[in-house]
């Protein structure tokens, strides 16, 4: 009873305060209500009737002036910014649809920005989670992509140069013991990795110099595993330390687990297992540490305290001649050796780690970053327009507030609070969208052979970025309505009685300007989306020169199989025959390389009767294939013949070349009958006779022009290739190649059960080669469509508003005999002016800006006219729809109704 009384008095106090445009804190309302309730109760106690008692209390309330009370709020918390937020919330919930549209577009806009930024952050900005990452530097391996073990040895011998040095190489290790492979992401590393990075184990120990010796130290082969792998494979058990792990058929002892945040020196990769470099020859018997032309290691150093990279480079350069001299690759031609001696050893800062992904994705990511910023700007323009419309509706309220003594600053503050609140809610949802979106994107980056890992945890940069974006966004769309509010005169709107006269027109011009901006930005985004989509389509539908559907690639590894090296090719050939005999298999062929696999093999060549070429133009890519290869790949024979079973050891060595080869080396002449050999010519090497020419086929990258390619016969084995791994290409008769995996595995196992097998459909390999283009196209397409939608909505809103303002005018025109078609034309002429202006500006900016994405495009010019015209047409169509709907409504106005209303 008492509580109900108190509640009633509270709401009466609040209502009374509202009438005076005063804001009271909750505590003050409570206390005043308490007073009135006491007054009421006292009067009753003194014998007054309830009605009478209530009147006494009400009179007291009505006689009170709240002026002093609210001027000096007791608690600043009560009516300070918290109060603004409550008022803003009330405003936002009062117009739920407008607010929902605004929040949704902000969530998408801010979310997309945060998602892309967190990728940029983890790929390029975030420093490695190790001790003093600023002191790390990497030995730039521009020429060969990596360093040899002898070079590492020479550097380690001069350990006084740095505070630490280590080398590593990423490698997938097979956990299975023969049969179908089960890969983990692993790495070789020298023992210096842990000390140099300053990272210790979570459990157990890391490996030391004593472990990092050839063939393993006192504990035999040892491995350090990642925290994730420890959890996944051992369930985080402490007794994982000391257990055996089979890698490539060799048992390793797990000696330590790294802490959870550690992923190694490579950004974009994560290792599950690290083994000492000293185990190289145990796992890869065909390798030796002395090999001076086996480029496989990345080298990182820790600079001495206070040492700059330049100082370290000077120190390194002074020792360079000795290091180069001591590691000269044997068998290299003199011209290459001279270059080898000259090439400078250069350290580059590596606080943010090493990353092959960075080079590939930096530009695409920055492009998408620009795209999402533009989307956010379009969303801002839309929301500004929505709020402007609402601002016009609220002018009446504001002028009353001003007349009652509210300051202009207070109004502006209230409106900005509203904008900030909208933006913050949008950002909150956007943040969740971003977490999910960035993880989805990273998952898209991974391919079957390359797992991409990026640390996407939220750090201060991401938080600062999102907060900054939120505030800037709020200012962008909140300033126009706030400016409008500051211009309201006290009581002016009351006199107007809500009629939108002059102010409506100025709102319309501001809104129109915003629409022009939106259209222009949308044109830029649509052009970008069209360029990237067309690039992707061109690459995806590119004639690769072979038929990649229904081909299964099986990589057979004889590393762990007890087969004498000389016998391997014979075993592979028997496996091929066994698979070829399977039902459902159309053909099967061996090849040393498969297209777009990331592997390649090439030589410089000399062709008999060929044109004179510079050394740099003599390179051709090579492949070694068995009979049936061109049939399996569906590669066209242009002239001569392909390999047959007669091309075997002992028969004259033959080669098949492609058309690009004939063009480069023979000026397009028929190559049949010419011979080729490696350049510089070695006396002991027999030339290969060209017996056939096949059509051009993609080899290394889809974007590259097809390189001159020479195929030699696997059965002749005239090249001293490592035969430890070979590919079997299987064309199925009809079924999907993946369905054949089981029977192919069984057939190969029947020949040799120790061969390790990795399966992948050729089409997957091609699709993996298009990862970057696909992601850029999908993102640009998605955001282009979003931009179109937002621009369409903006245009629709502004046109509708213009039509509603001109209702009377249109009614009069129609009463005077204007035809509905004329009215539609009247409305559309304005829309087409706005769209036309926006398209012109947008097209101008696009044709200037497209030069920055030229390297991401394929098969079309950045200023591709068809794309520009097409995008303009799309915008025009969207504009036409957005304008036509309100125009049609205008043409249906009943003049009689309008004239009566006015």
């Amino acid at each position: 009873m008492r509580d109900r009384d108190l509640r009633r008095w509270r709401s009466l106090v609040r209502a009374r305060a509202e009438r005076e445009w005063r804001e009271l804190s909750v505590e003050v309302v409570d206390e005043l209500a308490c007073h009135l309730a006491d007054l009421h109760a006292d009067a009753i106690a003194r014998g007054a009737a309830d009605d009478e008692a209530q009147q006494i209390a009400l009179d007291t309330l009505n006689a009170a002036s709240f002026l002093e009370l609210s001027k000096r709020p007791r608690s600043r918390r009560g009516v300070g910014y918290g109060h603004d937020v409550r008022i803003a919330l009330r405003q936002l919930t009062a117009t739920p649809i407008v607010s929902a549209v605004a929040v949704l577009s902000l969530a998408l806009g801010i979310g997309a920005n945060t998602a892309i930024f967190s990728l940029v952050n983890s790929l390029s900005l975030r420093v490695l989670p190790v001790k003093e990452p600023q002191r790390l530097a990497i030995l730039d391996a521009q020429d060969n992509g990596a360093w040899t073990y002898p070079i590492l040895e020479e550097l380690r011998r001069r350990s006084q140069l740095f505070d630490g040095i280590f080398a590593w190489d990423t490698q997938r290790f097979d956990l299975a013991n023969g049969g179908v492979t089960e890969f983990v992401d692993g790495a070789w590393a020298t023992a210096g990795l842990f000390d140099t990075l300053g990272v210790g184990p979570l459990v157990g120990r890391t490996f030391t110099e004593a472990d990092d010796v050839r063939g393993g130290g006192p504990d035999g082969p040892v491995a350090v595993i990642s925290h994730t792998f420890w959890q996944r494979r051992f369930g985080g058990a402490a007794d994982a330390i000391g257990t055996r792990l089979t890698l490539e058929g060799i048992p390793f002892t797990v000696v330590g687990v790294m802490p959870p945040g550690f992923f190694g020196p490579d950004v974009g990769r994560r290792f599950d297992v690290i083994v000492p470099v000293g185990m190289l020859t145990t796992i890869r018997p065909e390798r030796t540490f002395e090999q001076r032309d086996y480029w496989w290691l990345s080298v990182m150093v820790r600079l001495k305290a206070g040492q700059s990279v330049d100082q370290a480079n000077d120190a390194l350069r002074s020792l360079q001649p000795q290091i180069r001299e001591a590691t000269l690759p044997t068998h290299w031609p003199a011209v290459d050796l001279a270059q080898y001696l000259k090439a400078p050893l250069t350290l580059v800062p590596a606080a943010t780690g090493n990353s092959s992904l960075r080079g590939r994705y930096e530009r695409p990511l920055l492009t998408i970053m620009v795209v999402v910023v533009l989307v956010l700007l379009i969303a801002c323009a839309n929301i500004a327009n929505l709020l402007l419309a609402r601002a016009t509706a609220r002018r009446h309220e504001w002028s009353v507030r001003l007349a009652l003594g509210a300051s202009r600053w207070r109004l502006v503050r209230l409106l900005l609070t509203e904008s900030l609140l909208l933006s913050a809610i949008g950002a909150g949802i956007g943040f969740l969208v971003a977490r999910w979106g960035s993880q989805l994107l990273v998952a898209q980056l991974s391919t079957q052979t390359n797992t991409v890992f990026l640390d996407l945890s939220v750090d201060w940069r991401v938080l600062a970025f999102t907060t900054g974006t939120t505030v800037i966004t709020a200012l962008l769309f909140g300033v126009a309505p706030a400016y409008r509010a500051a211009g309201v005169a006290p009581m002016e709107a009351i006199k107007e009685q809500g009629r939108n006269t002059g102010t409506g027109a100025s709102r319309l011009s501001l809104a129109s300007a915003l629409v022009v901006v939106q259209v222009a930005l949308s044109v830029i985004l649509v052009v970008a989306a069209a360029l990237f989509l067309r690039t992707f389509t061109k690459l995806a539908t590119l004639d690769v020169g072979f038929d990649h559907d229904r081909v299964l690639v099986v990589t057979m590894s004889a590393e762990r199989a007890p087969i004498a090296p000389a016998q391997r090719m014979a075993v592979f050939e028997r496996a091929r025959q066994a698979v070829a005999a399977l039902p459902g298999v159309h053909s099967a062929a061996l090849s040393f390389v498969t297209p777009l696999s990331g592997h390649n093999w090439g030589n410089r060549l000399e062709v008999s009767g060929g044109v004179a070429l510079d050394d740099s133009r003599r390179s051709a890519l090579r492949n070694q294939v068995s009979a049936g290869f061109f049939e399996t790949y569906g590669q066209r024979l242009v002239s001569g013949r392909v390999f047959t079973d007669r091309d075997r050891t002992g028969s004259p060595p033959v080669a098949v070349v492609n058309e690009a080869f004939a063009r480069r080396f023979l000026n397009g002449a028929n190559p049949i009958g010419h011979t080729l050999r490696r350049y510089p010519v070695r006396a002991d090497e027999a030339p290969l006779e060209i017996v056939g020419m096949v059509g051009d086929a993609v080899y290394r990258r889809l974007r590259d022009p097809v390189p001159p390619t020479v195929y030699s016969s696997a059965a002749q084995s005239i090249d001293d290739l490592p035969t430890v791994e070979y590919n079997l290409n299987v064309r199925t008769a009809a079924r999907s190649p993946a369905l054949l995996t089981r029977s192919v595995a069984d057939a190969i196992a029947s020949v040799d059960k120790d061969l390790a097998l990795t399966f992948r459909p050729l089409s997957d390999q091609i699709s993996a080669a298009l990862t970057q283009e696909r992601i850029v196209a999908i993102l640009a397409g998605f955001f282009g469509a979003l931009a179109l939608l937002l621009a369409g909505l903006g245009l629709y809103g502004v046109t509708s508003y213009a039509v509603s303002r001109r209702r009377t005018e249109i009614g009069i025109r129609m009463a005077l005999g204007a035809a509905p078609a004329g009215v539609v034309q009247l409305v559309l002429s304005r829309v087409s002016m706005l769209v036309g202006l926006g398209v012109l500006i947008g097209a101008g900016i696009s044709s200037w800006a497209s030069q920055f994405v030229a390297t991401l495009l394929y098969g079309l010019e950045p200023r591709d006219p068809a794309t520009l015209v097409g995008s303009a047409a799309v915008l025009a169509a969207v504009g036409a729809i957005a304008g036509w709907l309100p125009a049609r409504r205008a043409s249906r106005i009943d003049p009689a109704v309008v004239l009566r209303d006015s």
Binding site: F66, E68, L69, R72
Partner: protein
Amino acid sequence: MEFAGAIREAKKGAAELVVLAFLDDEPRHGYELAQLIEERSGGALTFNFASLYATLYKLEERKWIQGRWVEKAGQRRRRYYKITDEGREVLAAQRKEWRLFFELIRDLAGVRYA
């Protein structure tokens, strides 16, 4: 005009003095204060309900009194105000000033009407 302003200021000062004086004995809530002032002045002095609280908040802001929500058995929750040490000092000083002022007025009046 100036005269009316002076009286208003004097009244404001007097209101603060009265509130502080009533709180000097014991902590009281707003309603109780209003009743007391009306009773003791025989109805001659009444506070507008809002200005009583405005005065209380002002005194609290100056840290001369301190308010606290108290819930007593069988009663509703009320905000009780207690005078602070600083408030007591101010009260003593104001009492002295007012006494001097009254004496001065009386003396001046004595000179004029003697």
